[in-house]
């Protein structure tokens, strides 16, 4: 573990050292790019001494997650409707494509006008931005042709509902989760962009405030909190994905296999 981490740590330390040196020697002006030491100092102040970041951190996190929940809910509902009913798909798809090719971020002023300066507009933009990747992946997953297994189900006399729930839904899960992982990250972009534009709380507001004050160390320290939110969201979804789509990875398969054997034994006693 340490042996494998060592090269990474060495490279990272070297980058920080060169960066610090470039500023100390005057190669880069510290007013534009803060030295790592200034970022560190700002982090200590924001995260430990004053602790001002946490309130903003959780507001942005909340905006992203609730925006994601709304966007994902609508995307999965529309994708399911489209998969089940061909005419529905014909009429929904053009709007989804138009929404996708329109730069979602450009909707920011409109959304702020509609939903105001508060949390509502952040949630709304997050929902709009995460909609498309989830919609497309879910629809693709549900409509991916699987002729051999569909023929098997038909031969076994399966109803349409059984075909959908026992074959198409589980088969679509890997692609759907890929979409959810992308969507969760784009929801964060939506929340932060809306904060940049017009807001009173959230890490986006904090960061633009520091940048206007040319307090670059604090600005980068705030940016790193967004990275933290991004990592937290991504790995939470990765965790759920890994357990829901357990058949993809060997270690998970083996764990699931043992769990089913235990459940069988507990239920039947043999």
């Amino acid at each position: 573990m340490l042996r494998r981490a060592l090269p990474h740590l060495a490279i990272f330390a070297a980058i920080l050292g060169l960066w610090e040196a470039a500023i100390a020697t005057g190669l880069i002006r510290s007013i534009m790019v803060p030295p790592p030491s200034a970022v560190m100092a700002a982090m200590v102040k924001l995260y430990l001494v004053e602790g001002t970041i946490y309130r903003h951190f959780f507001i942005t996190l909340w905006e992203s997650v609730s925006g994601f929940a709304i966007g994902a809910g609508i995307a999965i509902a529309l994708a399911t409707g489209s998969a089940l009913w061909e005419p529905f798909r014909r009429y929904v798809t053009p709007y989804a494509i138009v929404l996708n090719v329109t730069p979602g971020i450009a909707l920011t002023p409109v959304i702020i006008a509609w939903f105001g300066y508060g949390i509502g507009s952040k949630v709304a933009l997050a929902a709009v931005l995460c909609f498309f990747p989830i919609f497309v992946n879910t629809l693709t997953g549900l409509t991916r042709p699987d002729r051999d297994r569909e023929e098997l189900f038909r031969q076994l006399g399966a109803s349409d509902a059984q075909l959908f729930f026992k074959l198409r839904v589980p088969a679509a899960l890997p692609l759907m989760f890929a979409g959810l992982k992308i969507g969760l990250t784009t929801a964060l972009i939506g929340a932060v962009v809306a904060e940049f534009s017009q807001a009173t709380e959230g890490v986006g507001v904090l960061m633009s405030r520091f940048s206007f004050q040319l307090n670059m160390g604090a600005s980068i320290a705030t940016l790193l909190s967004m990275t933290a939110i991004g990592l937290l969201l991504f790995y939470s979804m990765e965790f759920i994905d890994d357990r829901m789509v357990f058949w993809r990875r060997e270690a998970r398969r083996e764990a699931a296999s043992r769990a089913r054997a235990r459940a069988w034994k507990a239920r039947r006693g043999d």
């Binding site: 031969q155 076994l156 058949w247």
Partner: protein
């Protein structure tokens, strides 16, 4: 062979065309298959052997003529036939046991007896210790055994097999063929087996339907009066070779 028994599967002037009659996949097929008979359908691609199998399964509808199963005409998929494909077509999120239980589950909530049957069938195909393994943890041959157990779980007494071991290596295939013979022999099931391997077709069958393409039709039905149980050494005997020659002649290869 039990030729005296009433036929389980019959075909009268069965034809199937595709593309509004432009492609004749099968023409005027006539056959009677008695209970417990093992029939091989053999022929080159395009001879209509898979079409015939799908017609019997009720997965596609005949353009002309009629197929009956247990005396009633085939109008769609039914529960007295079971089918197995070249691909194992297992559900990768289900254990071997759960895959075997699928046919039951699509009809009703499985009872304890259904579960016992599924476990026994996994034992019958030699996978007793792999009931809780997922398909990705099994080899190709083992996956096909699960598919065979699933087919038997349906309780169907007419088994339709479309090149079931065609994607496996020669050794595994021979081994599974022998096991298949043992199992269908024990169950007394009527079996229709599609293959493009002439020796395999003869080795397994009581009757070989030799099929030729353009248009697809049954050119000849060859009886295989070889003793059972069949052993691999049978394939080097003169009687076996005489049958191979007979089939090849019908296919116009000699």
């Amino acid at each position: 062979m039990t030729n005296d028994a009433a036929p389980v599967v019959t075909g009268t002037h069965v034809g199937k065309t595709f593309a509004n009659g432009a492609v004749v996949a099968l023409e005027n097929a006539q056959f009677n298959i008695p209970k417990g008979t093992f029939v091989s359908l053999v022929g080159p691609s395009g001879c209509g052997k898979s079409t015939l199998l799908r017609l019997i399964a009720g997965l596609i509808e005949a353009s002309s003529g009629e197929i009956t199963l247990h005396g009633t005409p085939v109008r769609g998929p039914r529960q007295d036939v079971g089918m197995m494909f070249q691909k194992a077509t297992l559900l990768e999120w289900r254990t071997a046991l759960e895959n075997v239980l699928l046919p039951t589950e699509l009809q009703r909530k499985p009872t304890r007896a259904d579960e016992d049957k599924a476990r026994d069938l996994l034992g019958l195909v030699g996978l007793g210790d792999f009931a809780f393994s997922f398909p990705a943890q099994l080899s190709g041959g083992m996956q096909q055994r699960v598919a065979l157990a699933r087919l038997l779980q349906t309780g169907a007494d007419v088994l339709l097999l479309d090149e079931p071991f065609g994607a496996l290596d020669e050794f595994t295939r021979e081994h599974l063929n022998l096991e298949l013979l043992r199992i269908v022999g024990e169950l007394g099931a009527t079996t229709i087996f599609v293959t493009h391997n002439i020796a395999e077709a003869i080795f397994l069958a009581d009757q070989v339907f030799v099929m030729t393409p353009r248009p697809g039709r049954i050119a000849r039905i060859v009886d295989v009066p070889l003793e059972r149980p069949r052993r691999l050494a049978l394939q080097t005997t003169p009687e076996f070779n005489r049958l191979v020659v007979e089939v090849r002649e019908t296919l116009g290869e000699l």
